[in-house]
Symmetry: C3
Subunit: 131 residues, 3 copies
Amino acid sequence: MQTVNVRSSKRVELIDITAQVKEIVRSLGVEKGHLLIYVPHTTAAVTVNEGADPSVAQDIIQALEHLAPHGAPFYQHLEGNSDAHIKASLLGASECIPLKDGAPVLGTWQSIFFAEFDGPRQRRVYLSLSG
Amino acid sequence: MQTVNVRSSKRVELIDITAQVKEIVRSLGVEKGHLLIYVPHTTAAVTVNEGADPSVAQDIIQALEHLAPHGAPFYQHLEGNSDAHIKASLLGASECIPLKDGAPVLGTWQSIFFAEFDGPRQRRVYLSLSG
Amino acid sequence: MQTVNVRSSKRVELIDITAQVKEIVRSLGVEKGHLLIYVPHTTAAVTVNEGADPSVAQDIIQALEHLAPHGAPFYQHLEGNSDAHIKASLLGASECIPLKDGAPVLGTWQSIFFAEFDGPRQRRVYLSLSG
């Protein structure tokens, strides 16, 4: 198991970690199997989406803010970050990508994003290969 | 493949199954690989989130009720549980967690929840290890 | 790694690919492990839900349209398909299902759906087995 360290700089942001993930997978020299990307936090998540135009990530963040507004009146959790927990469950803590020829088979426009919902913080993403 | 049996007692609830999952993984004696948690139902799901403060699970449930209200007027499905199907797809039927030293590498605050959206019912969760 | 080719005929639709997936898994002759279903697109996704009554898929589509409306005024991405990117992240690019006796252990009512959010297009779904 390998760890990608991520430093977020905003409360909510999508951080493209594709280059780090690809470099780690390459260094492991595993030709095929499943790449598991796992976020061990409860106010952050992982998602795969377009990385070429940064406005896509912005629109995803805005949409999630509409779906789970920061400070909605019905939240009972007293830490004030219920929206972050909800957003984390909507995107999910894990994503799996097939490996082929030693690299994740991302589509042309796909990037891997660490989704920060309660930053800025120092965060970790676990990578694990099986197969 | 192992099965966790879950008995839900409400229409909608998040049930913490972390202890059962950890015990099964421990009993299997597998040191590393991927733990797949799979829900074979269409009105239930699995999610990983905070288990320490139960108000987090309550806020997630409330938020999902806002996103897919029970009995919204546009639903066409005649069984009256369309909201449960929608909530199930939003959280997802599967989650993968890396294993290390024979245990899932959950973060400090992470618990594994069976998400019931159309209970009360007798339910199953499948666990499978690979690697 | 195997590929399922999918031809969508609408802008938004859920396409049941269960039969193709089962046939490919059967042809590979792998008894157990994890079936990874991966969508290499940024405006499409994979979800597991009820396939028996097509109104469930319709209700999921309608609910997602409420959550991320086509053409919402706050979108910054200029291609006009931000809703499709958002819906894709909500459902996710990957789903894993355990294999048993050479077949995915789908529940009684579960089908595997390719979720098209920006069609009609020619699309691909990757299948990969590990374990």
